[in-house]
Amino acid sequence: MVPEEQGALTEAVFYILLSLHEPLHGYGIMQKVQELTNGRVVLGPGTLYGAINTLVEKGWIRPLVDGSDSRRKEYLITERGETVFLQELARLEELVRHGKSVTRSEEQ
């Protein structure tokens, strides 16, 4: 299988994929991301709604359908989403490694 061409993820998409390693609804994602980043990243509900729909379309996350009639839809990362997430993590690690190597050499 030819791997899908994969650019850098947006911060919103990265944090949505990260949050959805456990089932969460939209507001849960917003709260978790805000908590993790100490309030630095506050996802706008309009932006989040669009991103969730796109990620569901791409099959990177999926809605959990449960028997209860809860109106709040919960989502979870899929295997495909996990692959993308790990790829992105490797890319970010490379960025951090390169960034640190420069700052370290400047300190000396």
């Binding site: 911060e11 507001y27 506050v42 706008g44 509900p45 989040l48």
Partner: protein, 170 residues
């Protein structure tokens, strides 16, 4: 205590600003019907107001789903007018912006342009009446084109700026 204010603001960002200024003074908008805003007296700065143009008519399934999603996040739908919705959230809940990246802000401005554009084009076509001797009706359509061009140009400028900034950050 309530009061109503009649006002026409064509720039939705100015309108939003004004609603937030009113809210800062303790006057919270609780309804809007064609140019008439209804305010209720409350705690100064209790709410943050936002205005959005929906992609679909307000009763469309997609709009209902979106507005329900907003409600889940603590957003209140105060009023709606055509596809415009007036939203508010308690300021105590923290900052309230509908969009948190340039991509979705661009999409919102585009949506606004797409709403005005057909009317502008239609009026532009009708303004050709000038050349058939119907000067007055033609000029009315010319005036309509000018008026409709203002929000279109404003949104276009915002989009261009955002696209430029997007080259270096999201």
């Amino acid at each position: 205590m309530t009061k109503s204010v009649v006002k026409f603001i064509s720039n939705f960002e100015k309108e939003e600003q004004w609603l937030n200024q009113m809210a800062a003074k303790g006057w919270h908008c609780i309804d809007y019907v064609f140019g008439r805003y209804l305010f209720e007296k409350g705690e100064p700065g209790e709410y943050i107001y936002r205005i959005q143009l929906l992609k679909n008519p307000i009763n469309h399934l997609e709009s209902t789903a979106y507005l329900n999603f907003l409600r889940e996040t603590g957003v209140e739908v105060v009023a709606s007018y055509s596809r415009w919705v007036y939203l508010r959230k308690k300021a105590a809940d923290g900052p309230f912006d509908l969009f948190s990246d340039k991509e979705s802000r661009i999409a919102h401005y585009k949506n606004i342009i797409y709403m005005f554009l057909p009317f502008a084009i239609m009026n532009l076509a009708f303004s050709l009446k000038i050349f058939t001797g119907q000067t007055v009706p033609g000029l009315i359509h010319v005036a309509a084109v000018v008026i409709l061009s203002i929000p279109i140009a404003r949104c276009y400028k915002r989009i261009r700026r955002l696209k430029k900034e997007r080259l270096i950050s999201e």
